[in-house]
Symmetry: C2
Subunit: 518 residues, 2 copies
Amino acid sequence: MTILYLSGPGCHGGKILVVPLEGSHWVNMDILIRALHDRGHSITVVRTTKSWYIKEDSTYYDSITVSVTEGFDEEFIKPILQKLFDIERGKSSALNFFSLQLEAMYFIPKSVDHVCLMATTMFEDKALMQSLNESQFDLVLTDPAWGSGIMLAHYLQLPLVYNVRWITTGEGHLTLAPSPLSYIPLTGSGLSDKMTFSERVKNMLFYLLLMAQNNMILKPRYQAVCDKYLTPKVDFFELQQSADIWLMRVDFVFEFPRPTMPNVVYMGGFQCKPAKPLPEDLEDFVQSSGEHGVIIMSLGTFVSEVPSDITEDIAAAFAELPQKVIWRYTGERPSTLGNNTLLVEWMPQKDLLGHPKIRAFVAHGGTNGVQEALYHGVPVVGIPLFFDQYDNLLRLKERGGAKMLSIATTNKDTFLQALQEVLHEPSYRENMQRLSRLHRDQPMQPLDRALFWIEFVIRNKGAAHLRTESYKMPWYSYHSVDVVVFLLAAVISVVVISFVVIRYTCFKLLGMKKIKHE
Amino acid sequence: MTILYLSGPGCHGGKILVVPLEGSHWVNMDILIRALHDRGHSITVVRTTKSWYIKEDSTYYDSITVSVTEGFDEEFIKPILQKLFDIERGKSSALNFFSLQLEAMYFIPKSVDHVCLMATTMFEDKALMQSLNESQFDLVLTDPAWGSGIMLAHYLQLPLVYNVRWITTGEGHLTLAPSPLSYIPLTGSGLSDKMTFSERVKNMLFYLLLMAQNNMILKPRYQAVCDKYLTPKVDFFELQQSADIWLMRVDFVFEFPRPTMPNVVYMGGFQCKPAKPLPEDLEDFVQSSGEHGVIIMSLGTFVSEVPSDITEDIAAAFAELPQKVIWRYTGERPSTLGNNTLLVEWMPQKDLLGHPKIRAFVAHGGTNGVQEALYHGVPVVGIPLFFDQYDNLLRLKERGGAKMLSIATTNKDTFLQALQEVLHEPSYRENMQRLSRLHRDQPMQPLDRALFWIEFVIRNKGAAHLRTESYKMPWYSYHSVDVVVFLLAAVISVVVISFVVIRYTCFKLLGMKKIKHE
């Protein structure tokens, strides 16, 4: 068995311009940037004065800070999350769905405006653009959930690589690969790949809503920036599809099987590594759990607190268990807290998930946490809060590795029952262990695959041969509507003409006969 | 850079049942079988008493010989090829196209009948089926251009891996992955991925013809065997799509970019290896060419002779060149043969293509030869004869690596002109060298990738998680026709009801007013 790519052929010392997205997306991008730095590439990160996670100073990247007056920062995102959270808890599920959509209608234009402001500020800064041009980067690496990196790559005429899960039009695949709505559930729909008729109707309606949102909210904003700064004139959605390589943050152990394209490279779980030893005090706490083992709970980066009534219920439920619990929690200490529960402000989540004493993971269903649970084969009790969290957890649930609770109905009893089920029904653990085995059974580690393809783009100045240009066709040609109409017209013409000719001939013959008879 | 899979985790000593296809398809399968044998797997090959390429005795596989009275052997195939050849030469291109289709209508049922006879004979042989059942194979490896392996795998309830380029419904992808006819040219259509309106009409008509052929010729024959021997009742085309892994004998350096599926593994060029040194006499001949270098010519396994007038013209053209020529040719010695041309019955084609003195390859466009030219970066003068040869060469031509001639118009002048162009216009060689670099720039050798995924299926008893089951949906659900009709009906109902209500209300109001006025 020969592997062509052990230390990697050439192309060390590439120059990579990174246009990242904030929050958990940056957590991902940062891992990729460190790995690229370790392989000898020089990295320049574009951030804004309002950047929140993305620091200006770093030992492994240079940064360019774009000055903006309005930002996608903590003050911007926290109230939105709080509102989503309230909606999630307050109403019936049908009302929820529409309230959430309405909230999105407010949230999305605000964030697109921010991205467009960032892009405009860059393009207006002639000195910056000249310096970027002169820097002769090899490629732009961006998270296309934000469009600024896409437009910048086009401006600088550089190859484009995505670190992607979402784009403006939804889940990354949706724009790129044919996605029959009959078995590709849209994100946010809460559906699986096996749908009933009414679920398929819901999926279709959701798609129509998404398309309306794209064409009415996103397109005009991005297109205005394209029209002003990019020549020759280019359609933003075409630009979005023209990336050389899409490094997709899923794999098919996690995602339902679906059509894909040759330039999509799956790197789901690329952030996962074997667990490192725990700090001594934490290891002591974990070992004190004995045969019962440990449960860990975290609701992600954004949400350190949930409303106090739920907190009290969760703490009370934990207190009834023989397991030890480590809970990432920064709010007021719940009065019902048991002796078995350790509250922490931060925990080495990846290393805990890989510890042999771990029995279950209570999680909100962010992509990173779900991938890490899957990598280590730990069963999950999921409390999805917003965004893609429900859909992420659904994928584990469908494979029998997770139990899901709704935040609206979570109380001591439901929570305790869910935990007991996941702890005592062996299938949850067995299924997660099976997924873990499948995920690890790959010819190459996902991060190595991602690095290979980034360097492939540097070596070959793009990956045009992997990229269809069918997106440049008008929709009626792409879907062969013009051809079908033409062929139908041809068939109808032939039928009509034949009918007329036959009728005329019969008439003539009959006429002749009549004359003869007379 | 860590590679997970250097010596391969476990699963040596798998038991693999191979149901191959004859001719050049066997040449491919044989390479895979030898590699599997070298990795410690035991192989059993199913052949028939009429098998032509597939030998009964081998040092690296056991064989099972199915006794059939009619076979897909030399006597069967040669007259068909001769007829195709005559059509190809004799008529205008439009007439050609229809004559070839008519010939296919005769050829296809004959070969399907043969495959069904093979399958029926196997299923009727109770002792054989019992022994296969007891042998506890790990998987069936088959070339699905023939359906017998597919049905056998279902009968034995074994995981299924394809070594595939063609299936009964055309190019392997066509059934499996969504294939918009607007940019996916059907094989045999002679079209590229960028089509004019009239080319798209041709592609669509070709598709309709293919579907008619499938449903009228193939389906009834295969389905009859399924209905008789397989329980529970199963649809043959569903069975065909249910394979765990499709090892596809193309890659996207060769093939136009197109949608694909997660369980398709590309192994195009898996048969290619660095060239070995030539036999001494051949090396001497090659070296005697000096700075001018060598041209090699071969029209593949099936066709050792072309009509004598063309042979005379080709020989005369070669005689005018300063290059040396090695020509695989078994017919009568052409009278116009120059001193620079060596006629051989067989040549080490792969090693010659990798020789630094090689300048051009005159080829018929079989997949194996085209892939080898691409691997070694040698420009091609192509004379396609039949089957997929035109389409194979078209892919090189579109990338600027080949010049194509039609057998109908090949004479001394056209042939010489084509050769001169390929020899003296540097872009042909540059383009083939570029394709070669792209093809070799992979994280893993194609053969290793194929072996990995075969062993993955052994380790995990299939690859269900990579396989969509959407093919089980009725076509109107798959294409959301039912959903669209339902939604349209709903919209129309709302409009009609609103109209009626408004009309009724207006009428009432007007009526009231009238009454008041009166």
